[in-house]
Symmetry: C2
Subunit: 212 residues, 2 copies
Amino acid sequence: MKVNILLYDGVTALDVVGPYEVLCRLPGTEVLFVADRAGPVRTDTGYLSLVADASLGDAPAADVVLVPGGYEPPVARGPLHEWLRGADDASTVTASVCVGSLVLAAAGLLSGRRATTHWLAMDALAGYGAVPVASRTVVDGKYATAAGVSAGVDMALSLVDHLAGPVAAQAVQLGLEYDPSPPFDAGSPAKAPDPIVAALRANRDQIFRLPA
Amino acid sequence: MKVNILLYDGVTALDVVGPYEVLCRLPGTEVLFVADRAGPVRTDTGYLSLVADASLGDAPAADVVLVPGGYEPPVARGPLHEWLRGADDASTVTASVCVGSLVLAAAGLLSGRRATTHWLAMDALAGYGAVPVASRTVVDGKYATAAGVSAGVDMALSLVDHLAGPVAAQAVQLGLEYDPSPPFDAGSPAKAPDPIVAALRANRDQIFRLPA
């Protein structure tokens, strides 16, 4: 199975590496990181670069195409969207993490489809023609979308289950010792204290910036 | 707060990026990725490179020093261990993910201390003089160690709580939408089906290789 993961300037590292770490551990999987140009791509905080090994033009077709979120997700029309539509034509699964679903939707791939994104971007997702669903993973046809940042790990495990079955998925989960035990139960706006939810709403631009 | 995260050939990407993504979202935090030499470092699968922005010799002292796990964790004596002991002298917190604790222990930093690691490496951790504890995060003095791969996210949230308090930790958790919901409950050897546990035990060398 071939997996192409898109990188772009300001991408969020965990959106990329969470699902990558799950998918790459399925035997027989090859992962290729692709970007406008091959070479290092700076992530959103500026502290880490991930390396793309192929440019969009040089990337062979893949079974799974994954679009991570980032600080300014590339929602403007352009060559990237053309590439995405072509990659989607060839894929078995087209997936996203966080505001990566806005990129898929802006490229016209989620029109009328159920999809999810970061809890702070649900309205924006609707604005691009998708039907927002507040779930951690949403699958509609061949489109698998994950909620914010860390949700890509859960989505990728569901994909491994879908593609290779529950034994493979559980083996990957055990290998990564993914037995989550956060010290707080504050990972969704329904669970976090109201003042913390309000503070993040008021400062959404620190997490990502979307066109008005 | 300054955080130095060690990279080395064959490092596991999620060991690095999980805690990085948590720690970097604490306001006022600066993260620096360091390695033997500045430049791209290939991760364990060969599919992804992360970029070190400083060599060990050029990295200024940091408050938090983090050692991730990898396929062949650098447990042999050498300049890296000397650097680690110096970094530890200057740190407020010295942390590890997965078999990164074996590196700390081999460098002499965990002698007689309680610590954890990947469930498949508990015996090896004892061999380097630490006292293995089968918990997702173990804190002993200024040493915080996490279990396998994905446990670095939970450990880092505990660190943020310790360093900046529960409101900060919950804000980071909500920003990352870390409300884990894996499709299976198979993330520890106590929970996964026995044949899957046995298969991973029999193939431990595919996950990491340790000196005999």
